[in-house]
């Protein structure tokens, strides 16, 4: 529980610290950083709407699947972001300043999302489910 509360606070701190970065991406002249700024917001919204039912589950058996799926989606979105950014960079669609900003924001954002899911895992799952989740995510 202590670990969960630490994760919650660190995630919130990360989200707060990336806000100026997202604003910078939004105000960039290039189209790619603008689109990514709104994608970060969509990613957060998607995570919270998907994991929202976990707090009052109609089907407690589905809790594990919800949290595991949320984690997998965070990883998939992270990989997709890196892939797209590298492509856009090699195509010359992003300036150097925007590129470093994009990677920095994505790193902090992904870490914050992971921490949020980890805290949910520690709070809502049974010890057996936590072990299974840890095995699955570490492999």
């Amino acid at each position: 529980m202590i670990l969960a509360s630490r994760n919650i606070m660190n995630a919130t701190k990360n989200f707060e610290s990336i806000r100026p970065g997202i604003d910078d991406l939004e105000s960039s002249d290039a189209g790619f950083p603008n689109r990514q700024a709104s994608r970060f917001r969509k990613r957060l919204l998607s995570l919270l709407t998907e994991t929202g039912p976990a707090f009052s589950p109609a089907d407690p058996g589905g809790l594990y699947q919800t949290i595991t799926h949320a984690f997998e989606k965070i990883e998939a979105e992270d990989n997709r972001f890196i892939e797209e950014t590298v492509k856009a960079s090699s195509a010359g669609d992003i300036g150097e300043n925007d590129l470093s900003g994009l990677f920095l924001v994505n790193r902090l954002f992904t870490q914050a999302c992971r921490m949020m899911v980890f805290s949910m895992k520690d709070l809502l799952l049974t010890p057996e489910q936590i072990l299974s989740f840890n095995r699955k995510t570490s492999s």
Partner: protein, 90 residues
């Protein structure tokens, strides 16, 4: 042992509450509409009824009613009637 379990459950519920509040704060921080996620009641409203009139009145009354008293004061309007004799009575 039961007390430890109860304390542990209470602490867990508080941390879940903290998580929801942090989610709400994050949504506000990034300029997202919180109603898209918290569509019914906001996390911090789960603990109380809020500052509705009923609560304000009950708090106000409880401050001057003796704790041991179970009688709820009733304030009826005073209507003065004029008797046949010409005097006024309540």
């Amino acid at each position: 042992m039961e007390e430890i379990d109860a304390a542990s459950i209470a602490l867990k519920n508080e941390i879940i509450h903290l998580l929801q509040e942090c989610q709400l704060y994050t949504l506000r921080c990034l300029g997202l509409d919180e109603k898209l996620v918290f569509d019914d009641r906001l996390p911090f409203e789960k603990t109380g009824a809020g500052n509705c009139l009923t609560r304000i009145f009950s708090t106000a009354f409880s401050s001057f009613i003796h704790p041991s008293s179970h009688i709820i004061p009733v304030f009826r309007p005073i209507i003065w009637k004029r008797k046949k004799s010409g005097n006024w009575s309540e």
